[in-house]
């Protein structure tokens, strides 16, 4: 049971990455490959605050929010927007570039070792329904659920959410209906990045801060996204929890070395069994 809670918390971290992808996808039709790097950037803000001392916890969050948001804004303007009409995989390449630059700058400044940042909240182990649980795990799980619900509501029940959904269907037609798609993209992208950064200081106590973490998070986030269905916040949350549990149980019963191998195997088998993804399967007219 303890494993399950730890697994759920790991899953919640992946869910946050995948929800970030969803958000940038809804705002601009692009999955921000560098999203995990922006979250890691937020973690380093926390490390910086911790090592220099004297920065109130709320301010750490504000700083992480602003810095990541600014980075996301720049990314959208410099690496995404100019390629709108180019098509193909050009933006995939530039986003991998942005991710590499962020990772590069972090390693240049703080080296490539994992850095520990203590949790700002309570850290004594709780006993819950006869199981031991870390408060931070519970907080992270709750945060992921809240984030997913907020996004779900925001997409389905607000004017801006509907505009985003329309823009994914047909960007040109959305402009003709009076939607400022360029602003939607830019601010949506920046907001998603800022939220990613905001989560950094929360997650860092569980994950540690390391430049190499970004790729792991990016890949696991995508695994969860594909399984849960792009654009589906609830699907992503459920898939993330499932993968988190698989990972925890795999590490426990097969061996820590096999942790990622087990996740990959589960992912591969699922893709082969359900080629449209777990949530997919909507058939439209082909021609």
């Amino acid at each position: 049971m303890t494993d399950i809670i730890a697994g759920l918390a790991t899953g919640a971290v992946y869910a946050m990455v995948a929800l970030g992808y969803n958000l940038t996808y809804l705002a601009s039709g692009v999955l921000n490959f560098a999203h995990a790097n922006l979250m890691v950037l937020g973690m380093y803000v926390a490390y910086w605050a911790h090592s220099t001392g004297n920065l109130a916890t709320p301010l750490v969050f504000v700083a992480a929010f602003l810095l990541a948001g600014l980075a996301g804004l720049l990314e959208e303007r410099l690496a995404i927007q100019p390629l709108r009409k180019a098509g193909g995989s050009a933006e995939l390449v530039t986003m991998v570039g942005v991710a590499t630059v962020i990772t590069g700058i972090i390693s240049l400044t703080y080296g490539s070792d994992a850095l520990r940042v203590p949790f700002f909240g309570p850290d004594e182990t709780l006993v819950l329904l006869g199981t031991r649980a870390q408060p931070i795990d519970l907080i992270i799980i709750a945060a992921a659920v809240v984030l997913a619900l907020a996004l779900h509501t925001g997409t389905r029940h607000t004017r801006i959410g509907l505009a985003a959904l329309a823009q994914i269907d047909d960007r040109e037609a959305a402009q003709l209906r009076g939607i400022n798609v360029s602003a939607l993209s830019m601010w949506g992208f920046a907001f998603a990045a800022a939220v990613g950064g905001l989560l950094g200081p929360l997650l860092v106590a569980k994950t540690f801060a390391a430049p190499s973490l970004a790729l792991v998070l990016a890949v696991k986030g995508f695994v969860v996204l594909v399984l849960g269905g792009v654009g589906s916040h609830r699907g992503v949350l459920l898939a993330a929890f499932a993968i988190g549990i698989v990972e925890a149980l795999g590490a426990r019963y097969i061996g820590p070395l096999y942790r990622d191998i087990v996740v990959f195997a589960v992912f591969a088998v699922t893709l082969l069994t359900f080629p449209q993804g777990l949530a997919g399967g909507r058939k439209e007219r082909v021609v």
Partner: protein, 241 residues
């Protein structure tokens, strides 16, 4: 009263100039049809008015206001409604969502909501299928939805690109009725059509484009009209340019 005025408009794609000199005007309560061969620049002209292609020379004004500097979404809010060819609705969204999206360009939201109710009365089938995704509608229903979506923005000028294309003849007849009705309600309609008989049945004025230039412009009951159209459709480029 002239609502939409296009004067010596030039536009194209990147370096490629498709339209060199399009000149015409559209009055309120009337339908102007833009005719010409494929590649004559009809759709490109509409795209330039809507802001999807850049106006490189000349002007397009709506109620006297210069459109050429506005981004597309502002032109929509200023009262230009453009229904693109190919029944382009938001396919994964429901009928209801599509109409709600139509009101985004409407300056008065209460008016927009009232117009949505009006559209459900005008097109009862849309009311029946309001919760279904647009992709599930038939081609004719999608075209009606596309027009309704443009109308709930309470536009001043409506541009229709090939509204009869891909529709069964009986539905084409219904589209014609809708256009006549909109004219009666005082809307300025600019129509691009390949089906000449349909265009002539709908239009008050006809403008013929050839290789991106206005080569003929007259009332649709002008006796020389059929001849002019015939010439435009048969002519080699060199004879006219």
């Amino acid at each position: 009263m002239t609502v939409l005025e296009v004067e010596g408009l030039a536009t194209g794609y990147g370096d490629l100039r498709v339209v060199g000199d399009a000149t015409f005007r559209v009055d309120s309560g009337s339908v102007t049809a833009l005719l010409g061969r494929n590649g004559a620049g009809k759709t490109t002209t509409l795209r330039a008015i809507a802001g999807l292609n850049k106006i490189t020379a000349g002007s397009a004004t709506l109620d006297g206001a210069d459109l050429s500097r506005m981004p597309p979404y502002r032109r929509a809010r200023a009262g230009i409604a453009y229904v693109q060819e190919g029944k382009r609705v938001f396919r994964s969204r429901t009928v209801e969502d599509n109409l709600a999206l139509g009101t985004y360009a409407c300056r008065d939201q209460a008016r927009g909501r009232a117009l949505v109710t009006e559209m459900y009365e005008r097109f009862p089938v849309l009311a029946q299928r309001r919760k279904q995704p647009a992709a599930a509608l038939s081609g004719g229903q999608q075209q009606m939805l596309a027009i309704a979506q443009a109308l709930v923005a309470d536009p001043v000028a409506l541009m229709l690109d090939e509204p009869s294309a891909g529709l069964a003849p009986a539905i084409v007849g219904q589209v014609l009725d809708v256009i006549k009705d909109l004219r009666a309600h005082g809307l300025a309609v600019l129509l691009v059509e390949q089906a000449v008989d349909f265009a002539l049945a709908a239009a008050d004025r006809v403008v013929v484009l050839n290789v991106g230039r206005t080569v003929y412009s007259a009332r649709s009951d002008d006796p020389g009209l059929r001849d002019a159209i015939q010439r435009a459709y048969m002519a080699e480029e060199s004879e006219l340019s």
